[in-house]
Amino acid sequence: MANLKAIRQRIKSVQSTQKITRAMRLVAAAKVRRAQMRVLAARPFTQAVVRVLREVVAEISPIDVQGLELLSRRDVKKVGLIVLSSDRGLCGSYNTSVFREVVARISQLQAEGKEVGLILVGLKAVSFFKSIKVEKLKVYTLLPAIPTVEEAKMIATYAGDLYTEKKVDAIEVIGTDFISMLRSEVVTTKYLPIDMPQAEVKTSLQPIRLFEPSIVDVMERELLPKYIQNVIYQGLLEASAAELAARMAAMTNASNNARDLIAGLTLVYNKARQAAITQELLEIVGGAEALKG
């Protein structure tokens, strides 16, 4: 009988876990829809900004933009890595796959003899890199669940300053791109200096691009601020959508596992219950037979 009671308790505890995972799945599912819409809506803008900037940078001569530190290139001695992770767990391998990529990149850079500094976004990144001996330049945690332009601006300004003040000579962003509900991908984006497109051989003669009022004005006032801000903003949006999708997948799995576990346990429980009943019947019948003599 004690066995029956134990099984019953076990079923109950699995059931309550299942309730939690199911609720978390529903919450993530509701949020991921909106996050997905935001990512998809923001993508054309970021892509356009990045494309225009690269086109322009590839065309102009460095002498024209000498005053702009953000465009200057120098020998890379130290690299800043911006790591985009989540504040909360229970989202499957979402964070660990980012960290794996970061650790690989760090050892690669160190093997090349370069220093590394980390800019960490998300509590999970902070606790993961606590025990790893790499310089942490800055930490951002508990950002709002829905990334806004404000946080992007904050991070972008800091990163831009790091670069212009020559504290680092290159910055890369490692985060997760949202591809679909079921798929996301860890990506490393070259942030600063601006990645040049592959030198394409132009067959036809292209007219020279004009700049109004001047290259420096266009760059300084509009293009560069938009670039540094929107790449981060997009990164944050992608990461939050990917996090929610990962959490939804993880919680769906957990709920299904709980369901299977309960089904198995119920079977065992019923078998045990029937065995107990049969046992009892046998005892009664045996007793009656004995009385008959």
């Binding site: 809506a41 923001a42 054309p44 803008f45 970021t46 356009a48 900004v49 225009v52 322009v56 332009v149 292209q206 007219p207 020279i208 691009r209 004009l210 700049f211 109004e212 009022p213 004005d217 266009v218 006032r221 509009e222 293009l223 938009k226 929107n230 903003y233």
Partner: protein
């Protein structure tokens, strides 16, 4: 040479407009310029003002809150933090914003605050202007 050019207005929130147009007139920081198909490539910064463009002979408007315009052989691309088509603009809201900001402005003495309300005011004004122009056109057609 083709007689239309693709106009794209993109903001961080959405793609506001993406279609073939016959001409685009924008207000850059140092004056107005009109882009016709086959214009030479140009990159310019835009002022907070009304953008006008012609679709099948009809003039349309959009309120553009700053940004850049990138023109190449086949395309005019406008990247702005905020943009709305004239016909989408909620006039009542813009009017409200205008009167609110005007009231705020008279009280503010701080330079930064004054600048912020000045910007808000110009946004509201441009919205109203674009909406007004869209309305006039509709009336003219009827």
């Amino acid at each position: 040479m083709a007689n239309t050019i693709n106009l794209k207005i993109i903001t961080p929130e959405r793609v506001v407009f993406d279609d073939q147009v016959e001409q685009v007139t924008a207000v850059a920081n140092d004056g107005e310029l009109t882009i016709l198909p086959g214009h030479e490539p140009i990159v310019t910064t835009l002022a907070v003002d009304v953008l006008r463009f012609k679709v099948k002979g009809e003039e349309e408007t959009a309120a553009i809150i700053g940004g850049i315009m990138n023109v190449n052989n086949t395309e005019v691309e406008i990247l702005s933090d905020m943009a709305e088509l004239g016909i989408e603009i909620d006039e009542a809201r813009a009017n409200q914003a205008k009167s609110r900001v005007e009231a705020e402005k008279s009280q503010k003495t701080d330079k930064l605050d004054a600048y912020v309300s000045e910007m808000a005011l110009s946004r509201a004004m441009v919205r109203l202007k674009a909406a007004e122009m869209a309305k006039l056109r509709r009336r003219g057609r009827a």
